[in-house]
Amino acid sequence: MLTFTLRRLLLAIPTLLLISLVIFFLVDLAPGSPASEIPLTVPPEVRAKILESLGVNQPVWVRYLLWLKQFFYVEPLNGIDAIFGTNYAEGMQRIISYQSRSPVFGIIADRIPQTLTVIGTAYLVGVLIALPIGIYSAYRQYSLFDQLGTVFAMIGFSVPTFFTGTLFIIIFAVYLGWFPTKYDTTLNVTDWDSFVKQLRQMAMPVMVLGLANAAAISRYMRSSMLDNMGQDYVRTARAKGMNEKVVVLKHVLRNSLIPVVTVIALGIPSIFGGAIITENLFGVNGIGSALIQAIHGNDLPMVQTLAFIFAILIVLFNLIADLLYGMLDPRIRYD
């Protein structure tokens, strides 16, 4: 297992380098320029000066190498400085956002907590709703509950979040007035009242995302359960006289969870990635809204850095999912 992990980690290095190259050049060579963010009232000479100070005029490969150095060397050093109060990275140029002219990693650090709270909760809620629905739907296949579960999943799958989000705002905020439409990012949870306030403002984004997440996972759970329900060992268990509870929740569920756990693990990078549409709709200042604002603002360093961080997370969680497989299923061994 250890050698397998090490081998995979080593393999990840060239993979990530290749990904970084593709991301950097794709974003860089895509049409659009930070110049389009400068109003037309700014005369061409001033415009040229602004672009020069952003470093846009250097050749693309110089910028790529500089960015790599900043990403893998300067920024980690800055992280160490921030944690231990040292000053190794003093005077080194960090990755600077075009829009705010401030370090990209500072913005990311600002925004990660909101994304983890809101999107993480939504994911958790989604999983907690999905598993029971999936299990019971499979156990009582073609029952009324199963049909309702299918309809629920269908809605969750097919209705986009920008629609459910707006619908929820109109129902719950405009007509009923239960929840605020805008997430108050300055709220600090210090007492019961502010905690309730936090719950209220999280309610709608969590509902919207939870619905979408639950839909997918409940389908996986159901089909995995169905696969196992027909297996010989289930019949054996029943023949041995075990009650239904033990058969379903112990024998079948455990075996059915193996693929579902992988699916859940592979979905975790999306928590860090944030939810572009939902975050933007409700004004949650997470990573997703940072990404979309950076794309709108042609803030290339921000887009490149964020996209690459997502790539790292995806590679990492793929590895974790593979390792989980090995741990959950004794038949799979990597040695």
Binding site: S53, D110, K182, G283
Partner: protein, 567 residues
């Protein structure tokens, strides 16, 4: 800790002066929504309206523009003019006097050295200052004493109200920004996010592209203001959601730039929680005619250059006919409602610079058809399209991708088709269209189309630099990497001479006369620029927020110190 001290300070100041001025901070909290969230609070590092306007609550200039476009003093005692001796008769020098006893929000005095430093900060060659144009033409700035700022120009400056006037050109605190000159500008994150200023508010916390939390400045020069103790500026979402948050749910007191369609405007007004404010500035949506040939058959580097005049748009009768076929009021009704009005002028305001011309407002399809026939364009082969010498009139009409612009394109295409023109529509992503990339064929400067539509305006109240964009030597082309503001490739020596004259004229009546003439030379005398809609600003304010006056000449938050809660 620092904040608490500051707040205590604020309370003390308010407390000590209870009798005369009990009002600062009396009205609690105010919520403002900028759906395009501010990215930085240093307007010298960003030209974005959202950044300049939020920063204007903290940073101020010597003077500002009021809602009528008139210059009024902020940090200065008064506005220097030739009459009061503040500007020398040769227009080479202006002398500003600071109000006595001004303090920064940290309690240190504001001096003329801060202004001089700001000038050095923005004109540093490596800084990439976004507002460098405000400091153009300055030879030197002298500070004979702590309250006097003398600006000397390299040439006569008929409009000296650029440096240190308006939200785009505020004074920075020299002590705070001393280490941020030139290339170091972007390393000064703390300074750029929390500038120390003289405005009614100061920054408590700033989250990039999200929220700014502000508290009343304890050292603001009017001890009774601002009425609000704290302000939150929230960003994110879109214009519709922003309008809804003020007009329908009432969560916010003010929302900036809520450009929504006329139908939505009515719907939101019906909810009764707020009002839509609109004001008109100089933003004009227009169709620009290409005076040169954009044909793809020409060699690269010769397309849309002055080497090849346009085959039919170089005929004024064709341009005029195209303009006559448009019903501008219909365009207003489709796209802007109360936030737009039909116009025939490139310079629609200020009033003294605006031409009275309204010739183009009424649509005249028959007249347009007759004019086309007069120009020799008739439908000889019966296919419904005009032709001349065996060539069909085909127009490529481009603009940026944006729902209102695509609606406009479709409607105008209908009118032009009725006129007998074969119109092909094209829309280009705004980040490419306005991106200015010399390598891209789709920028508005390159103009590889017959006509194109976009909006433009000018900064401040003086149209001279704006009108000077149409000089012969500002034509974009391969020799200047397609950087140039004379998009139409219009070139008229008489126009150039008149612009030259304008730059030497200081008499206001004469300036206005010349500016109006220049505007007409581009519009009704030549139809090179075909103005369509004068686009106003549309913002939303809650019914409980008092003192709001929409200003289109300066930042929208120009008078936030006068805002109050209606009881």
């Amino acid at each position: 800790m620092k904040l608490r001290t500051a707040l205590l300070g604020a309370i003390c100041v308010a407390g000590s002066a209870t009798v005369a001025l009990a009002d600062r901070g009396a009205d609690g909290h105010v919520n403002v929504l900028y759906w395009q969230a501010p990215s930085t609070l240093n307007p010298y590092l960003s030209s974005g309206t959202k950044d300049v306007e939020t920063a204007s609550l903290v940073l101020e200039g010597l003077a500002g523009f009021d809602e009528k476009g008139v210059v009024f003093p902020r940090l200065a005692v008064d506005v220097p003019t030739v009459e009061n001796g503040g500007v020398t008769p040769d227009l080479m020098q202006i002398t500003w006097k600071l109000k006595p006893g001004l303090l920064w929000s940290d309690g240190t005095p504001v001096t003329s050295a801060d202004a001089k430093f700001t000038y050095e900060y923005c004109t540093h060659p490596e800084g990439g200052c976004a507002q460098a144009a405000r400091y153009e033409g300055i030879a030197s700035i002298e500070t004979p004493d702590a309250e006097t700022i003398v600006i000397k120009y390299t040439a006569p400056k008929p409009n000296p109200y650029t440096a240190f006037v308006g939200g785009t050109s505020p004074i920075l605190q020299a002590a705070q920004f001393a280490n941020c000159l030139g290339a170091a500008a972007s390393t000064c994150t703390d300074q750029n996010f929390k500038p120390i200023g003289t405005g009614p508010f100061m920054v408590k916390d700033f989250k990039v592209n999200d929220t700014v939390e502000m508290v009343a400045n304890p050292n603001y020069r009017d001890p009774a203001k601002p009425a609000f103790a704290t302000m939150t500026i929230k960003g994110g979402g879109d214009a519709t959601a922003a309008a809804r948050a003020v007009m329908e749910t009432g969560e916010f007191d003010y929302a900036w730039n809520t450009q929504i369609n006329p139908e939505q405007q009515e719907q939101m007004k019906a909810a009764g929680k707020g009002v839509l404010l609109n004001g008109f500035g100089t933003l004009v949506e227009r169709i620009e005619m290409n005076m040169t040939d954009p044909s793809p058959d020409l060699a690269e580097g010769e397309r849309s250059t002055t080497k090849h005049p346009h085959p039919f748009l170089s005929d004024i009768r064709v341009r005029k006919a195209l303009s006559m076929a448009i019903d501008r009021q219909t365009l207003v009704d489709i796209g802007y409602g109360s936030a737009g009005r039909a116009t025939c002028n490139l310079v629609p305001a200020p009033e003294m610079f605006a031409s009275k011309n309204t010739d183009c407002i009424a649509q005249d399809m028959e007249g347009a058809k007759a004019l086309m026939a007069e120009a020799g364009w008739t439908d000889t082969d019966g296919d419904g399209f005009l032709d001349k010498d065996g060539k069909k009139m085909h127009i490529l009409y481009q603009t940026s991708t944006n729902p209102v612009r695509q609606d406009f394109q479709a409607v105008i295409k209908d009118w032009w088709t009725e006129l007998g023109v074969d119109v092909e529509l094209k829309n280009i992503d705004a980040s490419v269209f306005f991106g200015g990339d010399a390598g891209s064929p789709d920028t508005f400067q390159k103009f590889y189309a017959d006509v194109e539509m976009y909006a433009n305006n000018f900064d401040g109240t003086d149209p001279e630099p704006y009108l000077a964009q149409y000089l012969c030597n500002k034509i974009p082309g391969p020799e200047n990497q397609w950087q140039g503001e004379n998009i139409n490739r219009f070139c008229d020596p008489a126009y150039d001479a008149l612009v030259e004259e304008l730059s030497k004229t200081s008499d206001m009546a004469k300036r206005s006369e010349i500016a109006i003439k220049l505007n007409e030379m581009l519009t009704k005398d030549s139809y090179v620029v075909v103005p369509l809609v004068d686009r106003g600003r549309l913002s939303a304010a809650s019914n409980t927020l008092g003192g709001v006056v929409l200003n289109t000449w300066d930042t929208e938050l120009w008078n936030a110190q006068d805002w109050f809660r209606m009881k």
